[in-house]
Symmetry: C2
């Protein structure tokens, strides 16, 4: 009467990842708007029914891709968190790791944005929705850690009766807004508009940190030169890949 276990979790995870990666390739090739389950099924050594065992529908698959993408971003964030340097610099570095992510993996970035739409969330499984929330919280922990370091070394004090979570959210929402709004420009080489994403992100971050009273203030330190060095040290491969795509982070147009 013991129900036989025929499939181990490992194999299931592997298969799930294979489906996700296949879907990402299709998104890269045809655009997210043309992704269909039928196409995914033909590109995968399983039948439709099996795919639907893993994902209750197309939207659920999208959310799973989004979750996977957030994991990738979480790794970049963690590297920024671990960098040696003052807290404020590392927070700026973290924001730029977000930008690098958006430039390097546009399909993933795009999918995360799409997955935020109620169109997707409304049709997804509880399991993947909860996983997504967990992952976003995890993302926040890197930010959290940097803020705590800033508080610990007294370069930062909590302003306006705010708590740590609020401060983390401030930085996150600011970076999110800037990169999202300029993400359409992120991919192209030359900006049609006069807004340059790396410059706006840099200025916006510094204004916010100055407003928080986070030392060293902009007037006392060349954050730009520091950032340039840190990026080259922490993300050499990623910067090279971006360059290979014909795009490049340009810090010369602003001091």
């Amino acid at each position: 009467m013991t129900p036989p276990k025929l499939l181990d979790d490992k194999a299931l995870k592997e298969r799930e990842l294979l489906i996700i990666n296949t879907a990402v390739l299709l998104i890269q090739r045809n655009g997210i708007e043309n992704l269909t389950m039928d196409k995914v099924v033909t590109q995968v050594p399983f039948s439709k029914g099996t795919v639907y065992k893993h994902f209750v529908g197309k939207e659920d698959l999208l959310l799973a891709i989004s979750n996977h993408s957030i994991k990738v971003l979480g790794d970049l964030f963690h590297r920024a968190y671990q960098f040696k340097g003052c807290a404020r610099s590392r927070m700026l570095l973290l924001n730029f790791s977000y930008l690098i992510y958006a430039m390097l993996y546009p399909a993933l970035f795009q999918t995360v944005l799409c997955a935020k739409s109620p169109n997707v969330v409304g049709k997804s499984s509880e399991k993947h929705i909860n996983e997504g929330e967990r992952l976003e919280i995890k993302l926040m922990t890197s930010i959290h850690g940097i803020v705590e370091d800033g508080l610990a070394d007294s370069s930062l004090e909590l302003p306006m009766n705010m708590d740590i979570q609020q401060l983390c959210f401030s930085n996150w929402s600011m970076a999110y807004g800037a990169i999202t709004l300029l993400s359409s420009e992120v991919e192209q080489c030359s900006g049609r508009t006069s807004l340059i994403v790396e410059r706006e992100l840099f200025n916006l971050s510094n204004m916010l940190y100055d407003g928080m009273g986070w030392k060293p203030f902009t007037k006392d330190r060349s954050h730009c030169a520091e950032l340039k060095i840190a990026l080259a040290e922490l993300f050499p491969e990623e910067l090279a890949q971006i360059k290979a795509k014909g795009r490049e982070l340009n810090f010369d147009s602003f001091s």
Copy 2:
């Protein structure tokens, strides 16, 4: 031989608006993820072919709704711009008009977010895409005007070699990020999380303005009391409607 004009522009515009409003009602009732062209057609005194005369497809209709929503928001922004008061207060007020909009018209707000997805943009007509860009620029002009007023009365100086457009974008992307990320919380009465959207928006705005060096600084003025009065004067109806929905802007939890 003169080709007869049978439909005037006015009637066309009216019909387009009727279709849009019908679709908005359906979104409110069934959620944006369940909007179908067939349902729209049955709710409208025209046939499918006629609807498709106006909108090349479902996504194009969504974009048109988004554009319509941006017009509504533009009106709120303009009222904030015209308010009497110091520039910095008005900018804060403008951000809060954005929040009011998100709370009062969740379906519209949601549609604007969805319409940003490449899923939608990729399948829409040039006409509506261009119209959307025009409308967003128009939105910016209210922000632009307030910044210029701040420069004119010397309460603000351009920091870090930035130009006016960059400053406008900073405020916009910050407000966008905060409200978007907390929009899922915007509708519900009590916050499960410890983040309260009106409080975060208030703090984030003030930190940014302080960082810009925009006077009067937070330490010198009770922006909160001022904002409370301004909101009551400028958006009495809207605040009442929000209250009627069971939600209320709460300023007591922070000074």
